[in-house]
C-alpha cells in the first residue's frame, strides 16, 4: 500500500492512498494517526476518507517530515480491535424522521422494514469531521442507499439521523442539510465539558437501536 505525500500549505502535508476507500485501508490510517500523535514537530493529525493530514508547526521542514512519514507508514502495523461499540437510541419517523415514509417509498417497502435494515447493521466510524462530534459512518447496506433531497433543508435539528446517498450519520448540531432525515436521537454526540468531548472517535462501532417508530 503506497502512500502519496503532498504539502497543502506552509504547515500541512496530506498523505493519500489510492481509491477506493475501504475498511482495511482506513484501519491502517487510524493506526498511522495514533503512531503520529506524539511525533516531534506534529501539531495535529486528521484522518480523512482514504487520506490523513498532518498539521505541523511552522518551523518544521516539510520535506524532511515527508520522508519520516513515509518511514512511519511502512512500519505501521494494523491493530485488530480499534474502537468501542456505541448504541445510539433513535426515535424513527413522525416529527423525528420526516423523510422516513419517502425513503420507504423509494425502496418500495414499509417504514418498519427500513428501520429493521437500519438497525440490523453495525457501522464503523471511518472519520470525524464537518461539525464537532459528527461521524462519517461506513457500512450502510445498499438496500438503504437513497438519493439526497432535491432541495436541502435550511435547518436540520440537532440529533437528526439521516441517510445521504451511500452514507448514514447523526447531526450533533442544527445544520443545513440535504440528507433524508429518518429519525432523531436524544443522545448528545458532543459535550464541551467532557474529555474527550465527543461520544465517538474514528474506529468506533455504532449500532442504532429503535426506541419507537412513528408513522
Amino acid at each position: 500500500m503506497r502512500i502519496e505525500i503532498t504539502p497543502i500549505s506552509e504547515s500541512a502535508l496530506v498523505c493519500r492512498l489510492n481509491a477506493p476507500s475501504e475498511l482495511g485501508k482506513q484501519q491502517k490510517l487510524w493506526a498511522f494517526a495514533a503512531a503520529l500523535e506524539q511525533h516531534d514537530g506534529i501539531a495535529e493529525v486528521v484522518v480523512g476518507m482514504n487520506n490523513l493530514t498532518v498539521f505541523t508547526r511552522f518551523d518544521t521542514d516539510l520535506a524532511v517530515l515527508a520522508d519520516k512519514l513515509q518511514d512511519v507508514w511502512e512500519h505501521t502495523a494494523v491493530a485488530a480491535n480499534q474502537g468501542k461499540l456505541v448504541e445510539i437510541p433513535v426515535c424513527y419517523g413522525g416529527e423525528y424522521g420526516p423523510d422516513l415514509a419517502e425513503v420507504a417509498a423509494f425502496h418500495q417497502t414499509d417504514i418498519a422494514e427500513i428501520v429493521r435494515r437500519h438497525t440490523a447493521q453495525t457501522y464503523t466510524v471511518f472519520m470525524m469531521g464537518f461539525q464537532p462530534g459528527f461521524p462519517y459512518l461506513g457500512g450502510l447496506p445498499e438496500s438503504l442507499h437513497t438519493p439526497r433531497r432535491a432541495v436541502p433543508r435550511t435547518s436540520v435539528p440537532a440529533g437528526s439521523v439521516g441517510i445521504g446517498g451511500s452514507q448514514t450519520g447523526v447531526y450533533p448540531f442544527a445544520s443545513p442539510g440535504g440528507w433524508q432525515i429518518i429519525g432523531k436521537t436524544e443522545l448528545p454526540l458532543f459535550r464541551a465539558d467532557l474529555n474527550p468531548p465527543t461520544l465517538l472517535a474514528a474506529g468506533d462501532q455504532v449500532r442504532f437501536v429503535a426506541e419507537r417508530i412513528e408513522p
Partner: protein, 309 residues
C-alpha cells in the same frame, strides 16, 4: 467588568483560537485577524493571544465598571470615549463609568476591542474563543447581547497614551499552491492570478466567497473527504473559489487549488464585501519571509511599549 449597553453587529469573544481538537471535528475558531489581535494585546502588555471582542463592521457600546486600559485594532473604527474621539492602534485608559462607543468601521471588516488583562471568560478546551456553530466558549457560547457583563482579567490599571503603526490594508493576497493545484487547467491556474476577484456579501467567518472567471479543472476530479484549514482555497463545481477562514469546518470534499499564506490571513479577513482582490502564488520560502515581516512588526510594538513603560 465591562458592560455591553448596546450592540448592532455580530460581536463575540475571540482569542488566538482553539487548537488540537480537529480530530473530534472541532475547528479552530479564533480571531479572523490574529495579527491585529496580537498587536492590540502587546500594546496593552497582555499575552499575544489574550481574548478580545471581535466585531464586524457595525457598532457596539461598552461601559467600563473599573479603570481599564484598552485599544482598538483591526478595522479602523469611528469611535469615542465619552464623546472624545478614540483612534485605532492607540492605547487609552478608560475610567470607571466611562462609555466607549464604536460607531462603525470606516475601513476593514473586523475590529478588536482589547483590554489590559484580556476578557476573562472561562477557557473551553484551551481557548476562550466562541465556537458559534457548536455554541460553546466565549461568553455563554454565543454572540454578545445588550446587558451582557464581561469579566476582565488581571492587568495594568493605568497606562500612558501610546500609538503604533496600523497594519496596512491590502488588495493583493499571497497564496501557496495546494495538493490539487496541478489538477486545474492551465487557464484555471492563470485565471487565479490574472483575474480580479470580488468578495461576495454571503461571506462570513466560515468562508469568503469570490466571484470572477471560473477556475476549471483539466478533468472532473472525484475527491473524498479530507482535512481543510483556515486559508484553504477550495473550488466547488461552479469554479468560484471559497476561502475557508477562522470558523472553517475541519473537513471538506472540494479540490484545493491553493492556501492563503498564513501571514496574509488577517489581511484577507479585512477585505470588505464588494471589494476586489488579486491573488499571487508564491513559494514556501516567500511565505516564510512574510511571516517574519509580521513577527518584526509585532516585535517593534513590544519595543515601543517597553520604551513607553
Amino acid at each position: 467588568m465591562i458592560h455591553v449597553s448596546a450592540v448592532q453587529a455580530p460581536a463575540h469573544i475571540q482569542d488566538a483560537g482553539r487548537y488540537g481538537h480537529r480530530r473530534y471535528g472541532i475547528g479552530h475558531a479564533g480571531a479572523m485577524d490574529t495579527v491585529a489581535l496580537a498587536a492590540g494585546n502587546i500594546l496593552l502588555g497582555n499575552d499575544e493571544g489574550a481574548a478580545a471582542i471581535e466585531i464586524a463592521l457595525g457598532g457596539i457600546t461598552l461601559v467600563f465598571e473599573q479603570d481599564t486600559p484598552f485599544c482598538l485594532t483591526g478595522a479602523v473604527y469611528q469611535a469615542e470615549l465619552d464623546g472624545e474621539p478614540v483612534y485605532s492602534y492607540w492605547r487609552y485608559t478608560a475610567r470607571k463609568g466611562q462609555t466607549l462607543k464604536l460607531v462603525r468601521a470606516v475601513q476593514g471588516m473586523y475590529g478588536y476591542v482589547c483590554v489590559a488583562g484580556g476578557f476573562d471568560v472561562p477557557e473551553v478546551m484551551g481557548s476562550r474563543s466562541t465556537d458559534l456553530k457548536a455554541g460553546f466558549g466565549g461568553h455563554q457560547g454565543r454572540m454578545l447581547q445588550k446587558g451582557d457583563c464581561l469579566p476582565v482579567g488581571k492587568g495594568a490599571q493605568e497606562l500612558s497614551k501610546v500609538g503604533i503603526a496600523p497594519i496596512p490594508f491590502t488588495d493583493t493576497v499571497h497564496l501557496v499552491p495546494s495538493s490539487e493545484y496541478a489538477a486545474f487547467s492551465e487557464e484555471g491556474r492563470l485565471n487565479l492570478e490574472r483575474e480580479t476577484w470580488t468578495l461576495q456579501s454571503d461571506s462570513n467567518r466560515m468562508g469568503y466567497r469570490f466571484d470572477g472567471q471560473p477556475l476549471t479543472l483539466s478533468q472532473p476530479l472525484e475527491m473524498l473527504s479530507h482535512a481543510v484549514q483556515a486559508g484553504t482555497v477550495q473550488v466547488p463545481p461552479s469554479g468560484k473559489p471559497i476561502i475557508l477562514l477562522a470558523d472553517a469546518q475541519t473537513t471538506g470534499g472540494y479540490p484545493k487549488i491553493a492556501t492563503v499564506a498564513a501571514a496574509d490571513l488577517g489581511r484577507l479577513a479585512q477585505v470588505r464585501f464588494g471589494s476586489k482582490v488579486r491573488f499571487k502564488i508564491i513559494g514556501l520560502k516567500e511565505a516564510a519571509a512574510l511571516r517574519r515581516k509580521n513577527r518584526a512588526y509585532l516585535n517593534q510594538i513590544r519595543r515601543i511599549v517597553n520604551e513607553a513603560g
